[in-house]
Symmetry: C2
Subunit: 351 residues, 2 copies
């Protein structure tokens, strides 16, 4: 049926503002496409620490587990960043949520918009037509391995661990996506140095014969960080481990000209979470200047996930319509710009 | 006195060709500046594996330890890259050499050349005037932590470990360099997730008061990967751990327009090694198309290190003279270009 339970986690910084616009969008979708969204709000991140001492309260986790999809804003607060001694941190909330919901694949589509191409620091001929989909492993690796800091503060370590079971599902997902696209999959790793990278390479090599129409190639992460800028059109689908994916996907955001445009989906077997790739951007909080598009396009990925393909399509068209008509926030046009909520309303009205 | 023992390690791929040009340069320097270089050649990398089974033969290590400086070409061979099961790998030779010589700091200066600025994938206004010096920790972290692959191949891990002692010397070096420059030091880490990153942040914070004229700031590696492209002029001196430094410094090479121009120095308490940041580029081997400039500018860093400042200055001028006169290899000008050895000779003749 057409009734969906959405867990809404606005989080920190500009999170609440952009999520406000996404709710506006969902209301418009509900009306236009005869469906119903039931929203349940949860605390997470710094906000949750300030109010409950816990970056991921049990109640929030419960709401998420029972939801059809999680709509996530952003987390992070400079108060914690500059204090290496802090025991509880906003990021722990997001990481624990990813782990508890088993969101093993973070999917980030990247493309360019004709009217924004000149916003990119890269030259037009380098990026025009670039279209990349990144699959980042999200619940293992150095993020979740054992961590230790000696009580005297003399040393510390973080363990990067991967099992074949961690790699197989996301590798299949990436191969399948490549089949639907240009049939090219690039594994980014550091197999000339790391044992875990060699396990990634071996596992992907073993799976490859099941996808004979997909060309699998490998690139060392240092070289990939360079090639993404020199020649982004080289790439179609990318698959990589957690830490490399974090770095590479933020880097790749420059291709589109603004991180404020980029959505992501984090999916697991049972649950799925949708969030902009930008962070909490605390400097912009409350100023009404945050770009809501990344969160709104995350809603489009959520609609796809819920099976509402027509609504997702319509929403993407409405976003493109706003961008082509220069109905954008200050990050995209410093001469003529609109507020977070004006842009959200413009898109909602077009639906 | 003016007698120097140079260990020469050409290595794999285009290594021997570019090292040949660097020797040409050193011969010209010796003549022009009344000094003497004694060259001792050593095997390393894939070449050493093919000839001796060992990527770093004892003999090579001995030559390096007894040298005033090591001149290094490149290592790496696709035969090993695509075989996750290979037990012996060329890279092990370089990594062991770095460790044995205690080369804890890899220093990579990055700048733009007026006549090459349009070669960069980045827009002129983004990069013009960018001038960054990266200090990458080189003998610890995940490169050298415990590694393990389960004999059944079910899982693997790599340990990233840092002690305060690993961080302190390179932090001081970076602070001191910042003092000589624009007095701005950026620590790149992932302190919102990793214990080792928090140790880096804490250690740098503790050292900072000794350099009150230097402004220390922090940036998460994902954000840094983005900011390096959006706004490279934000950065002056960067200090970071081994793996992040590997990724970030290759990425930053796009600023200058060609990785074929970028030198590096790896220094320790007793020894120092000079190498281009590009790799062995096996596809170009033997074709006479490799750009020798990165290796030649590494020689300039070596001359500085040996106290031959005037010679280093003259060499840098000669390189700039060649570039400004479009005496360059095919990577920098596909219409009118010269061979590896023509470019080397042109620079040598100018000295
Ligand atoms: C906030 C942080 C822990 C997170 C990460 O590193 O995964 C963020 O950078 C992201 O990419 O979603
Ligand atoms: C060849 C490889 C082991 C090496 C590294 O990762 O350190 C190289 O990429 C470099 O940066 O010198």
């Amino acid at each position: 049926d057409n009734y969906f339970k959405i867990a809404v986690l606005p989080g920190d910084g500009i999170g609440p503002e952009i999520i406000g616009e996404s709710i506006k969008i969902l209301d418009a979708i509900a009306e236009a496409f005869q469906c119903k969204f039931h929203f349940e709000y949860g605390l997470i991140g710094a906000e949750a620490i300030f109010k409950t001492g816990n970056p991921l309260p049990e109640e929030t986790l419960k709401i998420c587990k029972e939801s059809d999809a999680v709509l996530f804003g952003a987390i992070g607060d400079p108060v914690f960043d500059n204090n290496p001694e802090a025991k509880v941190r906003p990021e722990q909330g997001l990481l624990k949520l990813r782990k508890e919901l088993g969101l093993f694949a973070n999917i980030r589509p990247l493309k360019t918009y004709a009217s924004l191409i000149d916003k990119s620091p890269l030259k037009r001929e380098i990026i025009e037509g670039a279209d990349i989909q990144i699959f980042r492993e999200l619940v293992s690796g150095i993020y979740f391995g054992e961590k230790f800091t000696d009580p005297e503060g003399a040393y510390a370590y973080d363990v990067c661990k991967y099992s074949r079971e961690d790699i197989i599902p996301i590798a299949h997902m990436a191969f399948q996506e490549a089949q639907k696209r240009k049939k090219k999959l690039t594994l980014i790793d550091k197999a000339n140095v790391l044992d875990t990278s060699r396990l990634w390479r071996k596992t992907c090599q073993e799976i490859a014969p099941e996808y004979p129409d997909v060309e699998l190639d490998y690139m060392f992460v240092d070289n990939a960080a360079m090639q993404l800028i020199l020649n982004p059109k080289h790439f179609d689908v990318i698959v990589t481990e957690n830490m490399f994916g974090d770095i590479i996907s933020d880097e790749a955001s420059v291709i589109g000209g603004s991180i404020g445009l980029l959505p992501s989906a984090s999916v697991g077997e049972k649950n799925a979470l949708f969030e902009p790739i930008h962070g909490s951007y605390p400097q912009a909080k409350g100023k009404g200047i945050a770009n809501p598009v990344a969160s709104i396009l995350s809603v489009a990925m959520m609609l796809d996930h819920l099976g509402l393909k027509t609504a997702a399509e319509k929403l993407r068209q409405s976003v493109e319509h706003a961008i082509e008509n220069k109905y954008v926030t200050i990050d995209l046009n410093s001469k003529q710009y609109y507020s977070t909520s004006e842009v959200g309303s413009f898109i909602a009205d077009h639906i």
